[in-house]
């Protein structure tokens, strides 16, 4: 196990009034358990605002959990840690963001962007070795060494995403969190980036936490799947199993809502999903999905279902408990 989260919560304060008192909490993550094993990809899907990016940031230690425990290679890294552990963590866990246009510093050349982590971790003793390595990295992600002195704005979205990936793999990390890395790109460029990620995975044995709205992409990439709703994991398991046999009504709705690519077989009109995702400041008492669920029973409004099942497939739904 590389990294595990146990009952991790992340609440953001809601402040208001002139003195900005905390008047409530946005419950972005509720008691999440997550294990990231070596060389495995975990797909994360779910509602906009359900906490996917927050989860990614907790995994990458950009955010600290409100409660719960994070373990990295057997060591507790929930709160403050020694400098050594912090360094080891930074080297091994990286993140690639959704927006290829804002995630690279516009004032730095590509060479500087890629050298920065190598210098911070003093990976190479000579400048020459480092430069050679940076060139190799560029070639690895399908770019040319001549690009080193250029600036991010001179590149297309797909190329910038390649640069972000090159930076993320520069230190040969064990985990890369990919937060919707292809959602701004067209299908062909998306596929190039996914092929690249897969090729890197084979070569470096990297594990991905792969967040996306695109279920086709998630199916292709992931060994395991997490379906989130309003800060909770509502279904999880082996990716193929969950796709072939979705149990939670939200997962089913997700899978039925993917557009068809066929104007003669439009699917969206048939999507029956009522209402709105509730506000994470004031979530429902019972099942988080109860306000939109078409098959709910009375108990769903009162009791919060637990995630139950085996490693292969877990679901949190009152109706599958009975």
């Amino acid at each position: 196990m590389i990294l595990s989260l146990r009952q991790v919560k992340k609440y953001f304060p809601v402040r208001s009034g002139i003195f900005l008192q905390t008047t409530g909490w946005i419950r972005a993550l509720e008691e999440i358990d997550l294990d990231i094993e070596e060389d495995k990809t975990i797909g994360v899907v779910g509602e906009s605002g359900c906490g996917k990016t927050t989860l990614g940031k907790v995994v990458a230690r950009i955010l600290r959990p409100t409660s719960g425990k994070v373990e990295f290679l057997g060591e507790d890294v929930t709160g403050r840690v020694s400098k050594d552990v912090e360094r080891k963590f930074r080297r091994n866990i990286q993140m690639v963001f959704q927006d290829p246009f804002n995630s690279l510093d516009p004032r730095m050349t590509i060479g500087e962007i890629l050298s920065e982590p190598l210098e911070a971790h003093r990976v190479f003793s000579s400048k020459k070795e480092q430069d050679n390595y940076v060139k190799e990295l560029l070639v690895k992600v399908g770019l040319y060494p001549e690009y080193l002195s250029r600036y991010p704005h001179e590149f297309s979205g797909g190329q910038r995403q390649r640069i972000a990936i090159a930076r993320a793999i520069a230190l040969t990390p064990k985990i890369v969190v990919c937060d919707e890395p292809t959602s701004a790109l067209d299908v062909s460029v998306q596929n190039q980036i996914i092929n690249l990620l897969q090729q890197i995975k084979t070569e470096y044995k990297i594990s991905y936490l792969f967040i996306s709205h695109n279920l086709d992409v998630v199916y292709h990439m992931s060994d395991k799947l997490f379906v989130m709703y309003l800060g909770n994991v509502v279904e999880s398991g082996e990716s193929r199993e969950v796709f072939e046999n979705p149990l939670h009504p939200y997962t089913r709705a997700l899978m039925n809502s993917t557009p068809s690519w066929d104007p003669n077989q439009k699917r969206l009109q048939t999507v029956k999903l009522l209402g709105e995702p509730p506000n994470p400041i004031n979530p429902p008492k019972g099942c988080p999905f109860s306000t939109r669920c078409t098959i709910r029973i009375e108990r769903c409004d009162k009791e919060k279902p637990q995630l139950v099942g085996d490693e292969k497939h877990k679901v949190a739904c009152i109706l599958s408990e009975v």
């Binding site: 797909g158 709205h213 969206l268 999903l273």
Partner: protein, 321 residues
């Protein structure tokens, strides 16, 4: 009947690296009561096209003609533009949250739009807004009216934006990737809403997206852009049944299928060219698997066929090449 006619439109930006030909000689018509999808790679010029139509590009050279009804928009002054922008032609943006001011309630922001465009007092403006929120299926609209943007989900904000765009009953709505940031269930709701409202209000819509699934669901016609040009124009059924341009064909073949798992996914080799140095001839030629000799030398003409028009040398008869 076309409500908007764009002819030989060019939008060039001057930059230190040279002239960026973001939109380079495109012509198209938006017909009354249709949903026209504009698709293409990131950076191909979709947003610049519609910002040019709305007179919102700053510091660019614009050439060509944009005719809305009998008005020539390229000749419009800023004051003339303010009379149609938001009133006759409305715009919906990709990031709903950034389109709202966090310091005001959505009600205050909606009332401001209504009062600016329709001749009415605050009280009746409020009523109009609440009616509109009902129309876009916002639950408890009276309560929502007094909420701040950050209290709403992305999907709900996107619907408020649609309500704001519709409130003046515009002739044209331009929606720039309105569902890209939403999950598929909310996307489905928003797309359904677009279709229903379009039928009720008879609005013409330009819908920008890079998702062919979304195109198939909502569009009547599609224009495919590549590197500042429109390379194919087709009805939605013709495009999916019989794509013509090699770029369109490759894109449609790139859809991920279940059986591709653990395999390399199909893609178009090479990179999208930068707007500062587009290739000669057909801009797609360095990546095209069917390129002819002429493709790198001369720009292909637009060839009109039954339900499509395509800019590609493969469709030009031998003696005309």
């Amino acid at each position: 009947m076309s409500i908007l006619a764009v002819r030989n439109l060019k939008t060039y930006f001057k930059t230190p690296e040279g002239s960026v030909k973001a939109v380079d000689d495109i012509s198209f018509d938006l017909k009354e009561k249709e949903i026209l999808a504009l698709v293409g790679e990131s950076g191909c010029g979709k947003t610049v096209t519609v910002l040019t139509i709305l007179g919102l590009v700053r510091g660019a050279q614009v050439y060509g003609s944009i005719k809305y009804k009998d008005y020539e928009l390229t000749k419009f002054s800023e004051t003339e533009y303010t009379r149609i922008r938001g009133r006759k032609i409305s715009m919906i943006f990709q990031e709903p949250l950034s389109a709202f001011d966090p310091l005001y309630t959505i009600g205050q922001q909606m009332v401001e739009v209504v009062c600016a465009h329709l001749d009415c007092d605050k009280e009746s403006a409020k009523n109009i807004c609440i009616e509109m929120l009902k129309e876009v299926q916002i639950p408890f609209p009276e309560k929502r009216f007094d909420e701040y943007p950050h209290e709403m989900s992305g999907g709900m904000l996107q619907r408020v934006m649609i309500a704001m765009a519709l409130v003046t009953k515009p002739d044209i709505i331009i929606a720039d990737e309105p569902t890209t940031a939403l999950d598929v269930t909310i996307q489905a709701q928003v797309l359904n809403l677009f279709k229903q409202l379009q039928e009720i209000y008879k609005t013409s819509i330009i819908f920008i997206t890079h998702d062919f699934g979304v195109v198939a669901e909502v569009a009547d016609r599609v224009h495919v852009m590549y590197a500042g040009k429109i390379v194919e124009k087709a009805t939605v059924s013709a495009l999916f049944a019989n794509p013509l341009h090699p770029y369109t064909k490759s894109l449609l073949k790139s859809r991920i299928k279940k059986e591709f798992k653990n395999r390399t996914l199909p893609y178009i080799p090479g990179n999208v060219p930068l707007a500062t140095d587009f290739p000669s001839g057909c801009r797609f030629h360095p990546r095209c698997d069917r390129a002819l000799k002429i493709c790198s030398q001369k720009e292909p003409p637009e060839i009109c066929l039954n339900h499509s028009a395509v800019s590609c040398w493969l469709y030009v008869r031998g003696d005309e090449k």
